[in-house]
Symmetry: D3
């Protein structure tokens, strides 16, 4: 059964029978002492709460969090929001599911972004670095890392928190770095571009994103800076004659790209390329988070809600023309 209706289009009173991802599942008890099931249901356009009032315990055993399910329900309005009064839930069995139906996804398209990334790989002149990048980002993406890299979000909640977000962020950072190589003297353009493309590679195993985005054990215990540098070290070890100094300097860029110890970099940037990468990476995260926050502005508002990432309110106002 293909998916036909999307969250953003469903209206109060509508009968719904469609596929959704289960973001959360909890068995609760009503004031009247009756057990009911509370579900977070989502697709790529939004999410709603669903409540199962009849046969809650039985139905609750049919599926788990992060499953795709077929839901039969009626959409009602509760405290100003749509809620599903759910009649039945059935686990969707079978084939690989298309995450991009159920989770928000980059507006720029995964394939176009991938092609842009490959173009950057093609521009690298240094043979070692080109070999390293080709090993990490083979085209077509035959490795597990490359496939995860195309799908992974850029973060859990802070910025680029959607499927393909990591790829989008990487391509944007690489693009700006390429411009800066022309702008400033003394930049090793290949090195800066390689560092830009590899800086967040550890995120492919830091976050899980089969349903709700969350950190993996490894992500919480080691972090993507360490994981990325270690991964690059391993790949370099497989490349004949890859110079030790070059490995060291690329790993330094990965480890130091958060800029300061208190942001989780065990070493601060100490080369020109590492310093530039840190600034660009940080700026791209902030610019994207700004744009996302503005996109969610309530109608007519010029100030956003309080933004935890920025620790401030943001202003969308532009001077009138």
């Amino acid at each position: 059964m293909p998916k036909t209706r999307y969250m953003k289009d469903i209206k109060e009173g509508e009968q719904v029978r469609d596929l959704f991802l289960v973001g959360n599942k909890a068995l609760l008890t009503s004031n009247a002492g009756k057990p009911y099931l509370s579900l977070q249901l989502r697709d790529r356009t939004g999410q709603v709460e669903g409540r199962v009032w009849d046969r809650a315990e039985e139905i609750g055993k049919r599926f788990e969090r992060d499953d795709v399910v077929e839901v039969s329900a009626v959409a009602i309005s509760y405290q100003g929001r749509i809620q599903f009064k759910v009649h039945d839930v059935r686990r969707e069995e079978g084939g690989a599911r298309d995450l991009s139906e159920y989770l928000p996804v980059t507006r720029k398209g995964i394939d176009p972004l991938w092609r842009e990334l490959q173009k950057f790989v093609g521009e690298v002149k240094d043979g070692d670095l080109k070999a390293l990048l080709s090993a990490v980002f083979p085209d077509p993406p035959t490795t597990d890392v490359a496939q995860r890299f195309r799908q992974a979000p850029g973060g859990k909640t802070m910025h680029h928190d959607y499927i393909g977000g990591l790829l989008e962020h990487t391509v944007s950072v690489a693009g700006i770095c390429r411009m800066l190589s022309a702008h400033y003297e003394g930049v090793d353009a290949d090195l800066l571009l390689a560092g830009a493309m590899l800086h967040d590679i550890g995120k492919v195993h830091e976050l899980s994103y089969q349903g709700a985005f969350d950190y993996t054990d490894e992500g919480r215990l080691l972090g993507h800076l360490y994981m990325g540098a270690e991964y690059v070290d391993r790949v370099c070890a497989t490349l004949p004659g890859f110079p030790a100094d070059k490995t060291m300097i690329v790993k330094h860029m990965i480890l130091s790209h958060h800029g300061e110890l208190e942001y989780g970099s065990p070493k601060r940037p100490k080369t020109l390329e590492a310093i530039l990468l840190h600034h660009v990476e940080n700026m791209d995260a902030k610019a994207t988070a700004f744009t996302d926050a503005i996109a969610e502005l309530r109608e007519g508002a010029r100030w956003t809600d309080y933004q935890r990432m920025f620790e401030r309110y943001l202003f969308s106002g532009k001077p009138g023309k």
Copy 2:
């Protein structure tokens, strides 16, 4: 008398009779109880200590710090450095002196930078902002502010600390901002470019640079962020029909460009253009300071001395090709 010999070329044993700037002047007493004059003498290529052993008090009355003087001396070596044993000093009277003979100056040339700045002004489409920029940066530079803007250093010691440094920094920041307007969606390109060009305009009165660079009273008590915003406010008031909102948003960019309260911005950046400007400005200061630090590396060294601006040692190493 024109200047003929420069610091960097003077060798031990050489007889010197040439023009230098007095960076510092102090009357001291030797172990033997005899007064002598210690001078810091500089031109655009370097600086040395000069000592006047005979008639120290009499000669010391002829000139002040920041004067250009004609010095007669012999170059000796003291603790591994050139020092001048000075026979006579004479104050250079007369016409305007050329600061760029006596102080370090931007390697990129003041006139080429100025032309680049004018090109940016020409690209601004918004009529109000173009009028504002034309008033601040008239071409030719007929106002006191514009003339000072072409000469002023970018800072006292931290970065761009040479004649023309402010102009160089401004042009670099504006250039990157122009690239980012094309890179990111939702950027008001005219506003970002205008903010980039105006962000440090308050520095024209924050630093004095007729000799040693130093802060003015106004610079220390009000600071270039305040002074720049107030100056822009005054210029806007002279432009017919300049919208109040536009003034406010440009002033916000100037006031917030240090990014955080603890770096002296009374408000943190809250618009997309202000956020981008802050990041670019900061990155440019760091990249330039990095390049300057590497330029002073001792022969064969790969690590710089401790850099106070970065609070770390910096590494010049590049992976071998």
Copy 3:
């Protein structure tokens, strides 16, 4: 229709028909799926929630937040608090309304405080500063700034958050500063008094206070320190022969009165008068906030709730006599 009943006197079960200010307005949906209107209604003695259950959408269109409205309701008790079950709401049209009926107001009285302020102006001996103060605080208060200055709150939530709060704070700070001029040697009494009276003048445009207190765009983007200094600069420019040094030093006092960069001062206090002003201003804010917190103590309690401004609990206990 004049206002006759006040929030603090209204009891459970009472029929109410009177004027209130609308602090907030929201159209919500009940569990049963029925829309209702939730209003925050306030006068100078307190505030309650009002709910409109019938004709919610129609009635909701008659007025906006910050309007004064005539409300017909019955007072009920809900979760231990008074709530209005509202039958009808009518927008109060016509003439200027008296904010002091609907918003909390300084207990010290606006007119007595204004007279005290004028007395301070009268004591200033320096001709320039007296002219500046007379221009900012004309008596009678014929300018927009002076009129706003008499009404504005001292803050949004932290301290002096009531009509006339800014005036009350200013008079208190000025009074203490006058005492300190006599206490310490070397203080320029006129300068300290002028700085005290002008230090928060930027707040007249930083906060809006026609209903709920809130920040203006300008307040959030520029802040009252900048706005106050710029305003004083403009006024000084209109006073013939006002010395530039004097303007600079007064502006320094305004800009630095928060004491530290991280509290929003772009420069820290560097003159004796600026240092004293900062300490007095800070102490007055804290002492007033303390007194306000104690005034809201629950019966019999000696410890306040957690105070966000102080980041601690406060103690009202006094040693028994």
Copy 4:
């Protein structure tokens, strides 16, 4: 032998034979391999280095740091400063020496300050607090603590670093607190005045001041906040019927007067009187340090050297009249 010449009056070339305090004593070896004695000699008007070139070891055994000695020397000039070429040194034996001859002393006079303090004690109406203050500050000062309190400096280097400095600071703080009791409602005037007078009482044993000011072991290991509170606790225990609550609240004021944990207060101020005391105490330290820094300005300078206490340069400029 009475002292006749003071440091500030001694000129180059003068033969000196007079009494000085030994601030420091070190036996060094010259370039030529000869031992010599380097002394820091001081009286209340200043200090110089003295060097003993002959019989250095023998003469060095006659006296210790902090002794008063009779010095025979000739004043020479070395590196722009007066230095003593010392021929002989003799320890001054006998009776109690007058510290105020050899150490800087409050300009306000110890006896006048003491009388002012006694006047404050006399104004306290609360019987318990008056008994406490009379026990701590008996008049005449018959106890060891009271005698030390009259002599002790207010600090080692930061502020009030002269004999009588503690008394001067205490009287100033108490005077301002008395004014604030009249200014603010809700202040317990007796409590605030008592706290003001007692807040630094622990300093009588925190610093030694028989020569160079220095911390005692107890001062470094326990600190004057703890020592003061413990001392007050002991005194209260000797006063019949002194209420436990009152002891607790006074001790809280002493412990909390540094305002923040990071400044050494184990608890932050939580009563109105403790909050006011903290602000006044801090302001008085800063105002006095400012005045001291300005007093040492070089001729013609408007900016001080870098002030470590303020972490900034200070400005003495006043607007011209």
Copy 5:
């Protein structure tokens, strides 16, 4: 009437008539406008909310917070948790109640811990310190302080927050310190052990624990570091010939054991024993808090909820064997 049923065993639907401690009491009003009583009822195995719907006001007057009461109720399920629908409440009059029935208590047993503590006292060789410890911890515990020391919790919420927690923490810290005396050279074993046993003695009066744990007035205004040092000072004063230096060094250990000013120590540790004590004390608090957090893990979970004390999530995973 003895207690027979414990919270952890009570099931939905069960009729309850047993003794509980009142942790909190509030008279609220239902949606229907009817007053009801909400109680927090607890015993050593857990806590539930109880609601009295009939005669709420009358019943509410019979007892206070922290009383032990006999409750007649039926256990229902509300929002997934057990709640008591209470029919009647009666205050339990008469004899001393056994806190360990109603509050959580150390798993290690108060008596065994006390015996271990006494063993440590017996090991101290230094006569003065042994006398001090015997006076503070007499066996049997005949003093008020010793009796409180056996009962007091180690903290309000952060760590060791159960009856006997202070004793448990003290014994653990002392045990580790004893090991370190053998491990490191140069440690004064008696001093370290004495400091370990006395470091938190001030907590006996910092927290009240007759019902809900809370801070006393003294605890909030003076803190257990001050109170502990002052108490030790008083005890030492009663011991003939106790050396002043020894008192000072023990008090230093107590005052400094939080390690840093910002954690409430007015002085940081400056002796080897104080440094070791600080580290051990801190480690023991963290290790115990970790173990407590893991003990509350939801079934199957490997990560705890966010831990405020650690400002992070904790991981229970062990490598499989």
Copy 6:
């Protein structure tokens, strides 16, 4: 030629001809304009400055920093310290030199410490961890890493800054961790011991110690936390069937052992074993640094000089017995 005289025994006036390590070498010019060579010469007992006045340039070419040289000189006294007036310097050619003759070395002996370490390895019961430890610390130490591990200092200047210092620190930390496994419930003893032994293994390549201790490029760019975790990862990869979870948890302990991000750990400790290791490691560094500082106390002093690592003065006083 074997070494016969040591720095600590050489007296003024003595003729010296012996082997020393060159810590530093600089060609300077005297006041008289004559070049001379300034050398830092050291052996395991101390260091002196040596000056070569004749044939300075020629002699200076014979050797480099970190060489062992034979020095002919006479010991003179300069400014209270021994200095060598050097006649001749000859580079010591030939076989491996014994670093422990020229650099300070652990007082506990490298071999005894190594045996203690091996005993710990022998106690580990978990087969995987035992295999890992045996691979890292083979006995006899046949690998480069194991040999460096026996020699490396624990730090450059802060603590354990002598040959064998890393081994000494590791053994001490492991010993305390073993005790804690018995003290606390729930500790995985094998894991804690393994983490303790491996935590600083990255230091074998972070510091160079063939002469003056200094950081390697890799040490500065990657740091010993990263390098240690990566090294353990590589070793685990060579051990058949080593579980991935176990590798992850050991790497987490290494990466997190500095405890906080701002001390260079990219992740903070999140397991019980990681938390204990962090505290023990920190305590051992502090306790050792304390002991070292006290060992350098000047005769009779009870307070050390200012200790940068502690940011305070330390007290050696013990209560008299």
